[in-house]
């Protein structure tokens, strides 16, 4: 009993010792990624400097282009008052709903079209016809059919985000190396296991890229949709600021949009790296 206890405490003590070098090592790649990422900062700063200078030097009327510092000041005020956050959250919610719906429907459809040639033969013409109609051209139809509420916005985001996901899933399935299928079959897999253990993981990289592009489109479409008929959301906020000649607010909204896009992009790059780590070092190495 006492021996057992001794072993237990010993084990506990061992885990408590923090291996500092291993800890540092864990974060080294992140530090390197951050270093690479920071190389891009000067150009952004230069852009802000030009933005600051143009209205101050009177080259552009500050009424139409308020200085960068004014815009940032407005952005801070808006952020602190919590007004902006509400609009951001509403937009994100809509984009996420439309994108989630696209994931749920386009990915399974992509698997069916990629795997069953017959199914693809019957559906391809229809899908291609739809795909080549601009999402924005369809916006009035969605508004007419689904009204000005949430459903029309989510539907149009779903529509816009679906295609890249669908196409990338199809090409992901089609480009699975036949040798993996042969190897799996030689080990006697069932059809379901073949799908779950070979087709699905092999096509993940392609699907994740499709998801990245789809999410970007979702973010773009949500802004456009909110500009046409909404009473909340970042798109509404920018449009409203423009109509009411609240120029610094308008620029602050656009700046928020840029920051939001940047954050979503990094999140998706991170997700892509996480899910395809078995491929080794490929793709964007920035902000690993």
């Amino acid at each position: 009993m006492s021996e057992e206890l001794a072993v237990q405490t010993e084990g506990r003590q061992k885990t408590q010792v923090v291996d500092f070098s291993a800890y540092v090592k864990r974060f080294t790649p992140y530090a390197e990624g951050l270093k690479k990422w920071s190389s891009g900062i000067p150009l952004v700063l230069l852009f802000f400097a030009v933005w600051e200078a143009l209205p101050r030097l009177g080259i552009i009327d500050p009424l139409f282009l308020p200085a960068f510092s004014t815009t940032i000041q407005t952005l801070f005020d808006l952020a602190l008052s919590g007004k902006l956050l509400l609009h951001v959250l509403v937009s994100l919610q809509r984009a996420a709903a439309g994108f989630g719906l696209a994931l749920l429907l386009a990915v399974p459809l992509g698997f069916l079209m990629g795997w069953y040639n017959k199914f693809e033969r019957y559906t391809d013409l229809f899908v291609q016809s739809l795909r080549n109609v601009s999402t924005f051209a369809l916006l009035p139809i969605f508004l007419l059919l689904l009204g000005l509420g949430e459903s029309s916005k989510i539907a149009i985001i779903f529509y816009g985000a679906s295609w890249q996901l669908l196409m990338n899933t199809i090409s992901g399935v089609k480009s699975v190396d036949p040798i993996y299928i042969k190897a799996a079959k030689s080990m006697g897999v069932s059809d379901w296991e073949l799908f779950k253990k070979v087709i699905l993981p092999a096509s993940i990289p392609s699907i994740v890229i499709g998801a990245r592009l789809g999410a970007k489109i979702a973010l773009m479409v949500v802004i456009a949709a909110e500009m046409i008929g909404a009473k909340s959301g970042l798109g509404f906020f920018i449009q409203n600021a423009q109509f009411n000649f609240m120029v610094p607010e308008m620029y602050a909204g656009i700046l928020t949009l840029a920051i939001l896009g940047l954050m979503v992009n990094y999140l998706l790059v991170w997700f892509e790296k996480k899910t395809t780590s078995w491929k080794g070092e490929i793709g964007s190495s920035i902000l690993g």
Binding site: K182, S186, M187, G188, V189, K197, A202, I204, K279
Partner: protein, 278 residues
């Protein structure tokens, strides 16, 4: 006792639309790869198939593995016709064919998963095999982190994990450099000599064939059938030293004697080679 019996096996492939071959003046959109292929493999035997490119050696492996069906004739495995991939066979490919999204250990577990072997046992078997191939420190590495030789070791371990009665090996060492190739041949023979698995091994290397085989079956130029079977009378257990013996050279000479005419014939037929996958 024979574990594999191939009787009058014929295999034809349809060419792609618009492609044709001229078979002695007869224009056809089919190509015959195996023609009257008869072969018996004894239990526990190491049989090596050699033959010119396109003679259907790999196609024969696919038939034994149940991955494709003969146009006519039958392949028996343990007296039963092969109709689908069997739990009794394991397959090793030239391109390793490891699943890149799985670690070395997890790749080895694949075949055991489909057979419903519980996790602990899968891991135990996987680790034993990794140790056998000297890869114990690499169990959590992904294929891209392994050298070609290591990848092929894992692929062989994966095929052996299910304890197959027949191991099918399709030019498994062809993509490796000469040194790694010899090391892996030595390892394979060391590991195989401790089992009662039958092996059908396809190669283009006569040295490899003589070093590994109990018997070498020489396949004719397309359409393939067995031309000759040569018993390799080298003692076992074998090791690398045997390669420089005069007995080795004599056996090598015998195999090459049977193969030479077929290779020449195939050279003349060379323009057809790309249409089938050998």
């Amino acid at each position: 006792m024979d574990i594999i019996v191939a009787e009058k096996v014929h295999k034809k492939f349809k060419l792609k639309h618009g492609q044709q071959v001229n078979n002695n003046g007869v224009i056809s959109n089919e190509i015959e790869v195996l023609h009257g292929f008869d072969l018996k493999i004894k239990k526990g035997e190491f049989l090596v198939l050699v033959g010119p490119s396109g003679s259907g050696k790999s196609v024969f492996l696919d038939l034994v593995g149940g991955l494709s069906a003969p146009t006519s004739g039958v392949v028996y495995l343990d007296d039963k016709p092969v109709e689908a991939p069997s739990v009794k066979t394991g397959y090793v490919f030239q391109q390793y064919a490891l699943f890149p999204w799985r670690s070395a250990l997890s790749n080895i577990e694949f075949g055991l998963e489909t057979r419903g072997v519980p996790k602990e046992e899968r891991v135990k078997i996987g680790r034993e095999l990794l140790a056998l191939f000297g890869l114990s420190d690499f169990e959590d590495r992904f294929p891209y982190q392994l050298s070609g030789g290591m990848q092929q070791r894992v692929a062989i371990a994966r095929a052996l994990a299910t304890k197959p009665e027949v191991l099918l090996m399709d030019e498994p060492f062809a993509a490796l450099d000469a040194q790694t190739r010899e090391i892996l041949q030595n390892e394979l023979i060391r590991i195989w000599e401790g089992t009662d698995t039958s092996v059908i091994f396809v190669t283009h290397s006569i040295d490899e064939a003589v070093f590994l085989a109990d018997r070498v079956a020489v396949v004719t130029a397309r359409p393939g059938r067995i031309k000759d079977i040569i018993e390799i009378d080298l003692p076992r257990p074998r090791n690398g030293d045997i390669r420089s013996s005069s007995e080795f050279a004599a056996n090598r000479h015998k195999v090459w004697g049977a193969l030479k005419a077929e290779v020449n014939k195939a050279q003349q037929d060379w323009k057809l080679a790309p249409v089938f996958s050998e």
